[in-house]
Amino acid sequence: MGKRERDGGESEREKEEREANAHVGQFLPSQIRNKCKRSEAYAKVKNEKKKAKKQKIKLRDEAEKEALELGNVPPPRKIPRTIENTREADETVAQADDEELQAEEGADEFSQYFAHEITPKVIITTSQQNSVATRKFCADLLTVIPNCHYYKRGTYNLKQIVKYAINREFTSIIVINENRKEPNGMLVVNLPEGPTAHFKLSSVVLSKRIKGHGKASRHQPELILNNFTTRLGHRVGRMFASLFPQDPNFRGRRAVTFHNQRDFIFFRHHRYIFESKEIKEKKEKPNKVDPKAVKEKKKLPKEQVIARLQECGPRFTLKMQSLQHGTFDTKYGEYEWLHKPDMDTSRRRFFL
């Protein structure tokens, strides 16, 4: 707009705009050319908006309270629109009562694990050229996954490693790839028949960098898989599940979370504790009539059990790039799912 049209005064459009906003003030902040004054004006507008919002919420809450007191049904609250709840309709979302889904999951590559026939045994390795950051990340992962073994990559190619691992009855291989000495990729190969998933790895925070982090115990962790809803998501979720033993040691109070949101899988590792804590009571005016009762109350403070969390780390985010049929073979393999650019035509389309 005509911010730079210094001569000739304001343009017609500016004039119209100013007239339209006459009730707000003389000028819109964006129309002020002096930066200092503009920011001042903007701060003022922002403050007013904030106040108005607060007032609105206050009025709504009062109305709700009033309605409840009168025994009326309060007006329903509006649900904010988010990208997740306005996601494109997806026919692939798995239904629990689907007979075909159950039959397929009863016989897929992970069915033996879910039938308690095998216990997971995992190899962790790096790319052939690896740096300290990647090895440290591997070391952190070793604290998370039980029955997990680090192998130096050496100069072996992955197909050789897959063969080796199958012979040694490993059930999964995790390979951490790196770029510019920072881990940036994660490959999970389920053995012996696949599938192979390739993830982009980002936002890695090692345990050491997490403020107030705890040290994970050696108990077997509980596993939380969130929002793996579609058919593909189910498959990926089952793949993550098959990295961990199925019998968590609840005494360890250790939880590993894979949380899927908008196709990004967030990994967190926590321990928790249950603590009993006094409930803070509102100070009551001392009852002059019956002081004994007050004393009794003080003797028996109300307790409630609360859970506290402590993060153990590491922390990272995964985004799936491909899911391959069978074990690792990028050149001649077949893909079950491969990210392609024409899938990214909508922000509201998700696959997991």
Binding site: E100, E104, W337
Partner: protein, 465 residues
């Protein structure tokens, strides 16, 4: 308000398709109305991973029956209308010594159902990965389900080594082509069980390396059994002409993923190619040029592509669990269906369609995509040299004119001899004054005219093979 709904797809005309999946289910997909969304009309079978579908086939002559090869080494023949079992045959296991030291299994990799009008009546040709090809008469349903040698009309071993991956039977149902990993393309006479032709490995590449044979898909290009299109694991599409030579006459690369399926178009010139990365494209096999790719967010490997016999449609399915129907003319996605399982094979049931309703025409049907081919007449008198030079030109991607099949104009400009043709094409690039070799080009006035004509003929698309 953001868009939370999917964009509606245009829909397909009345069709009926049958789709087999890894749980052994057959799903019948139909459209109720013209340009409607397809729906699953019926589901046959119970979900059982042991009964997973490996191949499906319907007979060429339109006689009823749909043959399904399953993981349990049986071939079920069902009625494609009702889904009732008509016949069941067992594919015998190979002996242990054949299977030793090989990755291959007894799984059926190729299946063809012969109709009643074929020379041996109702029968099925199966081929296992070990290369055991058997032509069996279909037994009655109440017969005992043991493979009986008296039911075998023909049996032969395609290969002693490697893994057979694909099979195709030609339109006359006399010949079958086989290929696989470590098994180069070969054509067999079904009746005699004898090999009539086998391919030679292509020449070494510029590094002096030879790629091992790895045929993943095969199809006969036209009604004749001479031209065969092959897809390889090394992402190459090849055209073989059995009447010309043992090496491919045309080969080109497509993408970077192994080719999983190759399907011919009834026009006899183009093929549809699906790959392990989920790419689907149409190629003109006269020139080896890409006609166009099919879009539609295909996320997983394409296992099967099928062309509708009468309508300009193709259906494709694969590991991403979607069945997609594209128009071959606009190459747009017309419909896609999520069918829950990893899909293995899809077929159009045009016979039932015709019986149920008159096949309607698409509203915006344009002219057919490629020019109808003029069938090459059998010309036995042609010299070998001529053929070779013709094939060379074909491989280069230049239009080829047949001595008899081409138009008069073309015949006038192109001498019948292939050698001459080659010379002329060379000379035409040079200064017209310098060349005095061609007898026809002595008079300059005529020369000019002729050159014009030549230009005209060159700019025209290829008309015949």
């Amino acid at each position: 308000m953001p868009r939370t709904l999917k964009v509606d797809l245009p829909g397909v005309p009345r069709i009926r398709a049958l789709c087999g999946d890894s749980l052994g289910l057959i799903k019948v997909i139909t459209t109720e109305s013209d340009l409607g969304a397809p729906k699953v009309a019926a589901r046959w079978g119970d979900p059982d991973p042991q009964q997973g579908v490996l191949c499906m086939s319907m007979s060429n002559d339109g006689s009823p029956g749909l043959a399904i090869a399953r993981k349990s080494n049986t071939v079920d023949v069902i009625d494609p209308v009702s889904g009732l079992l008509e016949s069941r045959l067992v594919v015998p296991k190979s002996s242990a010594d054949v299977a030793s030291n090989r990755d291959a299994s007894d799984a059926v990799c190729g299946l063809h159902l012969f109709g009643e009008s074929s020379s041996w009546g109702k029968a099925a040709l199966t081929c296992t990965e070990l290369g055991d090809a058997i032509l069996q008469r279909l037994p009655e349903l109440d017969e005992e389900q043991i493979p009986k040698s008296e039911n075998f009309l023909s049996r032969w071993s395609v290969s002693q080594t490697g893994t057979v991956l694909c099979m195709a039977v030609d339109a006359s149902e006399q010949y079958a082509a086989f290929g696989g990993k470590g098994v180069d393309l070969s054509v067999w006479d079904i009746k005699k069980g004898s090999r009539i032709w086998s391919a030679k490995a292509p020449h070494r590449d510029n590094l002096g390396l030879m790629s091992p044979a790895w045929v993943t898909a095969v199809t006969f290009l036209d009604d004749d059994h001479k031209k065969i299109v092959v897809g390889t694991g090394h992402h190459q599409v090849r055209l073989y002409d059995t009447s010309a030579q043992r090496r491919p006459v045309l080969a080109f690369d497509y993408g970077e993923a192994p080719i999983r399926t190759v399907t011919k178009d009834p026009n006899g010139t183009s093929v549809y190619v699906g790959t392990g990365h989920g790419d689907l494209a149409c190629f003109d096999m006269q020139t080896g040029k890409l006609i166009g790719g099919f879009k539609g967010k295909c996320a997983g490997s394409i296992r099967s592509v099928v062309r509708h016999p009468s309508l300009p449609l193709i259906a494709s399915c694969g590991l991403d669990r979607y069945l997609r129907i594209h128009s071959t003319q606009t190459r747009q996605l017309l419909a896609s269906m999520f069918l829950k399982q990893q899909l293995v094979s899809v077929l159009f049931d045009a016979r039932v369609e015709r019986a149920v309703t008159e096949v309607p025409s698409l509203p915006d049907v344009a002219e057919p995509m490629a020019v109808e081919p003029e069938k090459p007449s059998a010309n036995g008198a042609k010299s070998l040299k001529e053929k070779k030079s013709k094939l060379k030109r074909q491989a280069e991607g230049a239009p080829v004119f047949d001595g008899q099949g081409a138009t008069e104009e073309a015949a006038a400009t192109n001498a019948t001899s292939g050698q001459k043709l080659k010379k002329k094409s060379k000379s035409s690039r040079q200064d017209p004054v310098v060349d005095g070799v061609g007898t026809e080009e002595k008079a300059t006035a005529v020369n000019g005219e002729k050159r014009k004509k030549k230009k005209k003929s060159k700019s025209k698309p290829a008309k015949s093979i």
